[in-house]
């Protein structure tokens, strides 16, 4: 009897979660637990803030916007479940997620359920090469960034280049693409290409090894935590070499970890920071975020999630519907130079963001990020 009761309880729990849609629901799929939880938490902060602002102005299509967030744990299996769960909750679109492999595990689920998906941190090229109608992303692809990286490296007059990644999909992709672009360039030799183990603390072993190869510049494609530690530790080793990072190193904590004296002169590529954008939207967002949470956003990807959210709401307003086909058509064809929080946004037929997004930044003596001309 007891077992039967439990069973009934479990069943009622399962059925209880199936709501019917009233307001415009937008899903958020992000890593709320696990090693990327900091990104997921900030993605949620950004979307909560934006939804609040839109709702204060009357919402969209006469109703309030509701953000439904689910945890993908930064792991494909959990993400597939999160996607199934979101797709049963009457959402018109979903924002996210961070990792490419994680996004990939959910792409088919959303596409078959006819839900618009706008990824914010999944830069792997192949995600948009499958001809999925409802897939978009606000982050540029790895090859976009690699192109800018290769140009910058050549502009800096580097003769011996060391490329270091961390074996994550993103960092490896960027490293590989950059290497392909620079292989065979005259007067430029890639003297080192290897991966470090992320989330460790002591990188002196790899720095010692790097130093042996005497590069002019080290291009590290991984994340800010490791980059900050390496800057600090190379300074301790009295090694003066240029360092450059990809957009995952764009985080104020980098300077805090390294110390501003060690971080000085560090280059990185990134979509423009909200502070460097002329648009009113970006300024207002930055002010609103700082006011609500006490600090500016730490990572660029949550801001890109905010852009995904904003283009979706914009498309709903323009098409006056939550119909995924109409929204997808609008985003593919009619959206041109939408004033985003990270620059102008348009999408091509694959759902990739078009236009030059990347800028080069350099850290100055005070540890500030200065946009390079």
């Amino acid at each position: 009897m007891k077992k039967l009761l439990y069973f009934a309880l479990a069943l009622s729990l399962m059925l209880g979660t199936a709501h019917t849609a009233q307001s415009a629901k937008i899903g958020l799929m992000g890593p709320m637990t696990g090693s990327w939880a900091s990104e997921g938490a900030e993605m949620k902060q950004v979307l909560d803030l934006l939804a609040e602002e839109y709702n204060a102005k009357g919402g969209v299509l006469g109703g309030k916007i509701e953000v439904v967030s689910e945890d993908d744990g930064g792991d494909p299996r959990t993400a597939a479940l999160a996607a199934q769960r979101l797709s049963t909750q009457g959402i018109a679109a979903v924002i996210g997620t961070y990792g490419s492999a994680v996004t990939e595990a959910t792409q088919n689920i959303y596409n078959e359920a006819k839900i618009i998906q706008v990824a914010n941190g999944s830069t792997a090229i192949r995600l948009s090469e499958k001809g999925l109608k409802y897939f978009f992303r606000t982050c540029p692809r790895d090859d976009e960034q690699a192109k800018v990286a290769a140009q910058t490296i050549q502009k800096l007059g580097v003769k011996k280049l060391a490329i270091l990644h961390d074996n994550s999909t993103y960092a490896k992709g960027l490293a590989d693409e950059t290497k392909t672009l620079l292989d065979g360039v005259k007067d430029l030799k890639i003297v080192f290409f290897d991966a470090l183990t992320p989330k460790e603390q002591d990188y002196t072993a790899i720095l010692t090894k790097l130093k042996e190869t005497q590069p002019d510049l080290v291009f590290f494609t991984g994340y800010y935590g490791e980059a900050g530690l390496m800057l600090k530790q190379k300074k301790e080793m009295n090694w003066n070499v240029g360092f450059m990072g990809g957009d995952a190193t764009n985080n104020p904590d980098l300077v805090k970890i390294a110390g501003s004296d060690a971080a000085e002169g560090f280059y990185f590529l990134s979509a423009p920071l909200p502070k460097d954008l002329p648009s009113e939207e970006a300024k207002a967002f930055l002010a609103g975020f700082t006011k609500k949470y006490g600090h500016p956003p730490n990572s660029i990807y949550p801001v890109l999630a905010g852009d995904g959210f904003r283009v979706v709401v914009h498309a709903m307003e323009q098409t006056k519907s939550t119909d995924p086909d109409k929204i997808a058509d609008y985003l593919h064809k009619d959206l041109k130079d939408f004033p985003g929080l990270t620059g102008k946004i348009s999408f091509n037929e694959k759902g990739d963001r078009v236009g030059e997004v990347y800028r080069v930044y350099k850290v100055n003596k005070e540890g500030q990020f200065i946009l390079q001309p």
């Binding site: 183990t197 072993a205 301790e236």
Partner: protein
Amino acid sequence: MEQFFQQLTNGLAVGSIYALIALGYTMVYGVLKLINFAHSDLFTLGAYLGLTLLTSMSLTDRLGPVWGVLILAVMVMGFVALAGALLDRVAYRPLRESPRLSAVVSALGASIFLQNTVMLIYGARLLVYPSNILPKTVLHLFGLDIPLVRILVLCVSLIMMTGLYLFIQKTRIGTAIRAAAIDQGAARLMGIDVNRVILLVFMLGPSLGGAAGLMVGLYYGQVNFTMGWGYGLKAFTAAILGGIGNIPGAMVGGILLGVIEAMGAAYLSFAWKDAIAFLVLILILIVRPTGLLGERVAEKV
């Protein structure tokens, strides 16, 4: 050759931290035959507590760097020791008489719990220690550039490990711990309060782990809630490498593992560094099934 010696010093610094954490695994294992998977999260807790105490009480500003850090270390070790005792009381003591693997699952659960507690309290972002506490001097010894702090890390670890070793070998309480490790029943018959020994072990081990966490925080300057996993796995590997349950074994294992890693990274491949370390471990265990300094016991019968 210069690279070799430079890598050796790199390995020694990392290894000494592994060794310090490994002591916590090995002591608990020695007495309870339990792998305390939550030990790595106590290490993380130590790193975070250190940061909280440091910034909230501004110890180093008031007392100067030396006394400030010392008092801080004592406080962190005290708190983590309490956490260790609490962990034992809640998660392990109810399982003393049950199958050993049940306690392992409880330990894994406790580890998940602790890790997520830290995440919820401090947030998922990595946090940064103030960087103005430790001296930034770099020494030039035998043509190598060695930061003074690395030498300090090594020395402090060695002092603590020697202290623990002497405590276990030379004092009455230490003798009681050794007795309980060999045969709990017999120790009880000899009038040793085994429960108190276990409590003590669960305070000593974690306090060393907490101290290691504090050192990592002070030296490397960044802490995140998942850092325990990497260090914990390496420290556990080190404890096994040296022969688990054996205190000098944990020290030798830790330092050796640090050096193996640095050398593997330098001369083979960096991306395969951890795989190389595990491969060496497996090879050593095939030759010496109970670790380097482990007692020679046949398959448990």
